[in-house]
Amino acid sequence: MAIDTRVAPKIKHHDEEYKVIGTRPIRHDGLEKVTGEARYGSDINLPGQLHGKVLRSPHAHARIVSIDASRAEALHGVSAVITSADLPDPGDKLTTGGEAPGLPVKFKSANMLARGKVHYHGHAVAAVAATNQHIAAEALKLIDVEYEVLDPVLEVWDAMKPDAPVIIEDLYTAKADGTTADEPSNVAAEMLYEVGDVDAGFAEADLVVDREFTFGVVHQGYIETHNATANWLKDGHLHVWCSSQGAFTIRQELADLLNHPITKIHVVPMEIGGGFGGKTTAYLEPLAALLSQQTGHPVKMAMDRADVLKATGPTPGGYVRVKMGVTNDGMITAGYANLAFDAGGYPGSVVGAGCRCVFAPYNMPNAKVEGFDVVVNKPKTHAYRAPGATHAEFASETVVDEICRTLDIDPVEFRLKNSAKEGDWQLAQPPYPRIGHIECMEAARDSAQWQTPLETAPGKKRGRGIASGFWFNIGFTSSVIAKLNSDGSVTLLEGSTDIGGTRTSVAMQFAETLGIAIEDVDPIVADTDSVGQTDVTGGSRVTFATGLAAHNAANDMKDQIAEGLADLWDVAADAITHADGTFSANGNSATVREAAGLLEEEGVFPIGKNTVTPTREGGAFAVHIADVEVDEETGKVEILRYTAVQDAGVAIYPPYVEGQMQGGVVQGVGWALNEEYVYDDDGHLLNASLLDYRMPTALDVPNIETIIVEVPNPGHPYGVRGVGEVPIVPPPAAVANAIHDATGLRMSHLPMSPPRVQAALAAQA
């Protein structure tokens, strides 16, 4: 078998040349991971450890009449049983960390352990600790819970009806104008974004296309299930080892949920087997902590796959309406969108992010976007890779394709003509900085796939689709601490949990700035006691923000080395120059390595550090091309060829960028074609397994061709833009547009699964 050593194309729109950035070194965590030595949460085992398990609701919506755990407590080997009565009452406190701060802690608390009512099938009701997993499992069967079953509400359009059962009796809509509704309902929040004069814009239009789209619930599908081990010591110190996208976020949530001082909580992020937005919040950590506190033993907990699918946060299903007006020569005059996302059992969906993205690729002077956050009897939803953007842009990019077909305008030309660019309006944000949508579209147009006509085959329905995608990325807070060792190597403590290879992409920026080899940096993902405040790994922020912190810390270290050398060389520190990793002044010179040795003799050990909260994250654009074949008899869609183009700003470590692009496509294709939660009428999740929750396998996606475009982000010293999320945005629309090209069908629901495509084909015939 030949090994493909092809380096994917990169299209640079800058002249910078770097020594470390843009190279392909061996990743720091590679050997540990391929040999199995890397330590994940489930590898933690402590002396005297107990095992915890969670009892989950068999109903989607029910009042808890009583819980009697006496039979479980009497079982030999059971040490503790907890329910929501063991969690402190959070009062009116609001959440602080995570991707969506500012929500009432009481909702998060009730999601940990149901308080009075269960809001979804799989909702945690009680937890036990026992000497082994088998006894814990047996004990769950001995907990007697009496439920009064209530009618469930499963879809946003039902939950928004005036006569719908109200799931949270004291939930009053937070309206877009800042007021609060008088009557409780399932609508937690309304939002409104408006620019220009949308009515005037539509009046100018020669063609208005107005379409509705609906979505099933999808899960992030990370391979490693949630796990947590907690050890609550007698002096109140709580140590937690877990699989999370943010150790500091878990620490904050534990403090909020358990009313425990933050200084006494120590969270150790273990290696993480995927998160994609689904590991930005606590599930097991507070339960393990409480059980440990009650038993005086460490308690280890882990979910199985069914728990993960039933009771963690998938990303919402819901509804999107998109209406766009254009002139006959293909200029957009106005856009209107209405998004209603299911928050799940408690408020806080990602609908706001969807609103911000729905028209983002286009210069649209008149636009109005309304959003609704709606509580339904499903698991509390969470972020999933560019949260909300995929839904929103599936809708808008399908409408754009229809406009192009109707007006007979080439879809690339249309997008180039209407593309957002530097200085254009950006919804609820300052105008765009330098962005790369046009450059991505041009690269897609010039790509091998777009330039090669689709091969036809007799009796086969084939088609090609193209779609744009945008994700705004986020900044948040990041910290690093860099220690110069006496041999010139650097131990780099960074606070961001590493999901996508970021310890290397952060270390590369440090090495570039200090002028040392990447092999001389040893990056460590540090725990909450060992590094400064660092927010979740999410929003495609780590290579951008933690990379910036590393750059700043390298400069801090540079200054400290120069000060040390200044004493030795008897010059002023600011007289020392630094170039290519060498310090020079007055005929003296020293590499970093030499300087480290000289300073050691003086007892000087520089520590560079930085905490940063950058806001100029830039935005990320992607353009994807999909070729598909539709089996007209079965409704099955095969992806024949796929090209992903993306503006990475500057690709620090190109293989990771390509990997993120390909991984996003795989997940996007899964979402497009098969993935969805299947519920019965009573709200039971029927497919809580990876057999029936159908993620793509290796045979379901072709090799994904990648083209990295580099339009540097002016808000970062190395031009970095986040790359992890935007590649999931275009695939459903690109595939839908290809299905239309092949069959003439406009699919309006995700996933476009074989029964749906076949039914649509039957209806067409």
Binding site: H134, T634, G635, N674, N687, L691, R694, T697, L699, P754
Partner: protein, 295 residues
Amino acid sequence: MRAIQYAAPSTVEDAVAILAEHGSDARMLAGGTDLIVQVREDARDTGVFVDAKKIPELMELSVNADGSTTLGAAVPCHQLYNDAHFTATYPAVTDAARIIGSTGIQGRASVGGNLCNSGPAGDTIPPLIVHSAVCNIFGPDGERTVAVEDFCTAPGRNVLADGELLVSLTLPKPPAGSGSHYLRFIPRNEMDIAVVGAGAWLQLDGDTITAARTALGAVAPTPLFVQAAGDALVGMTADEDAFAVAAGIARDAATPIDDMRGTIAHRKQLSYVLTQRALRGAKARAQGGSPTNGH
């Protein structure tokens, strides 16, 4: 905490004795690819696991004097598709053996186990039906035989009484000029359970069909022998018109349900399409070729 027992008898008689003693609490364990998963997921409560793999009759794969084949109930799938004679003689069965689970699963999973699991979607069952396979069952009262199409009685249920054991299957020698094919529809391309499966067997005299059998999986409470479709084909020219007639009969015979794996309308349509495709593949093999329509 549930304690379990494991037994590994070396004779059919010993296995029958253990099964008879423990009744429904005992299950035969062949590859374990269904049983162990079901027990772990609390879908089945089994206290006694009776290993089939130490019993020679259950591990036997041999050709009999009359040309028929004896397939021991615990023979794993990989052994079938690595056996040139079996593959050439019963190609629909190996079509199924190749697509169950993954390569690793196929190293353990057995055709007999697939049959005893009695899932409506069991991939090997329609091929066994179209090849007129017969179950050889032993129990406290001795031996009996049951046609495969009569073996399953409901989802997860079959004719085996407490103490009874499926020892082997007998597959008759197919006549000259015959061929078979099995295929299924899955939304992905691997590692999935059939939304619908279809098997077909045809015997040709020139272009004329002299005998035919078709069967469907996942469209009824049990795998479905569509006898009327095969009967209708006899005497017809093996062409698209004939296959459309048989496919129509198969679609009408299917009584699927809506569930997380498919809808009634889709499964009805797939019953038609897959029967048609299975017949095309069977015809190609009867004429010495191979199927071209893949999944």
